[in-house]
């Protein structure tokens, strides 16, 4: 049984049908990447999984149980942590406070949460020196580290990462993906990426979304092998490195 299974998911924003029957699955222990152009429905899929967008029809099963229609607070308590597009680090709170709040989905004494937050800086040494800096003072790459660290504080079984490379310098993108490859050792990851080459380099499986539908799914090298897909979505000239 897959950890996450999406069946025929439809999401409407008013008149607009953002998802038109998405079906896909994420196996436990895998990194799965959702690829697609702007507006294809990648973010909406993640938002539906984490409860921010209400499904119009279809079902979302997490560990065999339906979570479609539950609120985000309930879903994160079940073990799905969503690091949304744009990082959304609380600007008026410090880095440490931001990371500590990531544990809001579970009951633990504040002292323990504080210790766990300190331990996060071992995984993200670049932001250690900003422990007490306010969120708004950080750069994009640093914010992304804080956002991922905060997402991991939930101790999720499934981590949803929305465009972690967006707007970052190439060297920072490398650093972020190095962290993803470390996270995958004990957490299942569903990754949304526009940067197809990076996205597939860490993935076990990939899906291509097009105007609200999954048009293709396969292992990274199969996706690269598909000439039409490569030209249309993955940037035809690039070569997979992983």
């Amino acid at each position: 049984m897959p950890l996450l299974e999406i069946r025929n998911l439809v999401v409407r924003y008013g008149e607009i049908e953002a998802l038109r029957g998405v079906t896909c699955a994420v196996e436990e222990g895998q990194v799965v990447t959702l690829l697609g152009a702007n507006g294809a429905g990648k973010s909406t899929t993640l938002r539906a999984i984490s409860g921010l967008a209400k499904p119009t029809s279809g079902d979302i099963l997490f560990d065999g149980k339906s979570i479609a229609g539950l609120g985000p607070e309930a879903i994160v308590r079940m073990g799905i942590s969503h690091v949304p597009e744009g990082r959304r680090v609380f600007p008026g709170l410090t880095v440490k406070e931001n990371i500590m709040l990531g544990a809001s989905n579970r009951r633990a004494p504040t002292s323990e949460i504080s210790r766990e937050a300190d331990a996060m800086f071992d995984l993200f040494p670049d932001i250690r020196k900003f422990t007490n800096a306010l969120g708004w003072t950080l750069s994009g790459g640093q914010l992304q580290m804080v956002a991922v660290a905060r997402g991991l504080m939930a101790k999720p079984r499934l981590l949803l990462l929305d465009e972690p490379s967006l707007g970052l310098a190439p060297v920072i993108v490398q650093a972020v993906f190095k962290i993803i490859s470390e996270i995958r050792r004990n957490t299942t990851v569903l990754l949304v990426e526009q940067n197809a080459r990076m996205g597939l380099s860490v993935a076990d499986y990939g899906y291509v979304l097009e105007t609200g539908r999954i048009v293709l799914g396969g292992k990274p090298d199969e996706l690269w092998g598909n000439e039409a897909i490569r030209a249309a979505y993955l940037g035809g000239h690039a070569k997979v490195t992983a």
């Binding site: 984490s50 921010l52 609120g71 985000p72 607070e73 994160v76 308590r77 942590s81 969503h82 949304p84 959304r88 609380f90 600007p91 008026g92 709170l93 406070e97 500590m100 709040l101 990531g102 809001s104 989905n105 579970r106 504040t110 949460i113 306010l134 969120g135 708004w136 905060r150 939930a154």
Partner: protein, 290 residues
């Protein structure tokens, strides 16, 4: 000089009341992005609750607790009845609902209690103490002490506790807060309860100095609203400094310029700020805007 010191004491005393109500304005504004126009009525209702409880024969301290518990309950009802049903709408329907609630509260008290202003005794038997050239009125002393304690509590609560951080997170980005598992509706409920109790405290503390009347709420609220703009809208420290400054300015204005125009000074200052420094003393912090 002696007179100035005396006026400073009185001004800070009345300014502390404005500061407490202004703090309630700011906390609700930050949590919901809406100005609660019924904030002043919280003070008025609490003062009447206090009058009722004292008349019912309760000792002063017990009446005080009953009135504050009543305010906490009003905060719950206000949140569920006025804010919660409209939380997904734009700010305009919510603001109109708070205006409606303020009219409802004022007229309910009018219907029950009639238009005659009531008198509430002060907490202390001793009217005050003479310290050098300044006479310290015991009620003003109490107001200042309670306000100092609350400002310290407020700082500790929002800066040092995880719950305070969750409240701040909610006011900065509700959707993200909910993604982390923070119960946004609980956080907003806590904000309304806390603001109703703050407003209530201000009303109970100032009642022995003023009369307890239907109009006291709107008078205090207008001054407190001016205080939040002078201090910098949305800023906690600004609300407190703005409230104290306004109390001092109007007290000095009344003494040295004109007593009948006492209430006018607050609004002259407000207009001056709106023209020359609309962002207030502290401005809007970059932190909340980024």
């Amino acid at each position: 000089m002696d007179l100035a010191l005396q006026l400073l004491f009185t001004g800070i005393g009345i300014g502390a009341v404005y500061a407490l109500v202004a703090l309630g304005f700011v906390l609700i504004f930050r949590a919901t992005n809406v100005v609660n126009f019924a904030q002043g009525e919280f003070s008025m209702v609490a003062a009447y609750l206090m009058v009722v409880a004292v008349e019912a024969g309760l000792p002063y301290w017990a009446a005080f607790i009953v009135a504050l518990l009543g305010m906490a309950l009003l905060g719950v009802v206000f949140n569920l009845g006025v804010y919660y049903p409209l939380r997904h709408r734009t700010y305009l329907p919510v603001i109109i609902a708070t205006i409606g609630a303020s009219i409802l509260l004022a007229n309910s008290v009018l219907a029950i209690y009639g238009p005659q202003p009531q008198v509430l005794e002060g907490w202390f038997e001793t009217p005050g103490i003479q310290v050098g050239p300044v006479y310290l009125d015991s009620q003003y002393l109490l107001i200042i002490c309670v306000t100092i304690c609350l400002v310290i509590f407020n700082f500790w609560f929002f800066e040092k506790t995880l719950l305070g951080k969750k409240l701040q997170a909610t006011s900065q980005d509700k959707e993200m807060a909910s993604l982390l598992g923070i119960s946004v509706s609980t956080m907003i409920m806590i904000t309304f309860i806390y603001s109703a109790v703050l407003g209530g405290l201000a009303g109970i503390l100032v009642a022995p100095v003023l009369f307890v009347s239907i109009q006291m709420g709107s008078t205090i609220a207008l001054k407190a609203f001016a205080a939040t703009i002078i201090g910098g809208f949305g800023d906690v420290a600004g609300a407190i400094i703005g409230g104290l400054a306004l109390g001092v300015i109007e007290t000095f204005g009344a003494a040295y310029v004109s007593v009948p125009y006492k209430d006018g000074f607050a609004f002259l200052v407000l207009i001056a700020f709106l023209i020359f420094r609309p962002q207030g003393i502290f401005g809007e912090r970059v932190a909340e805007k980024a």
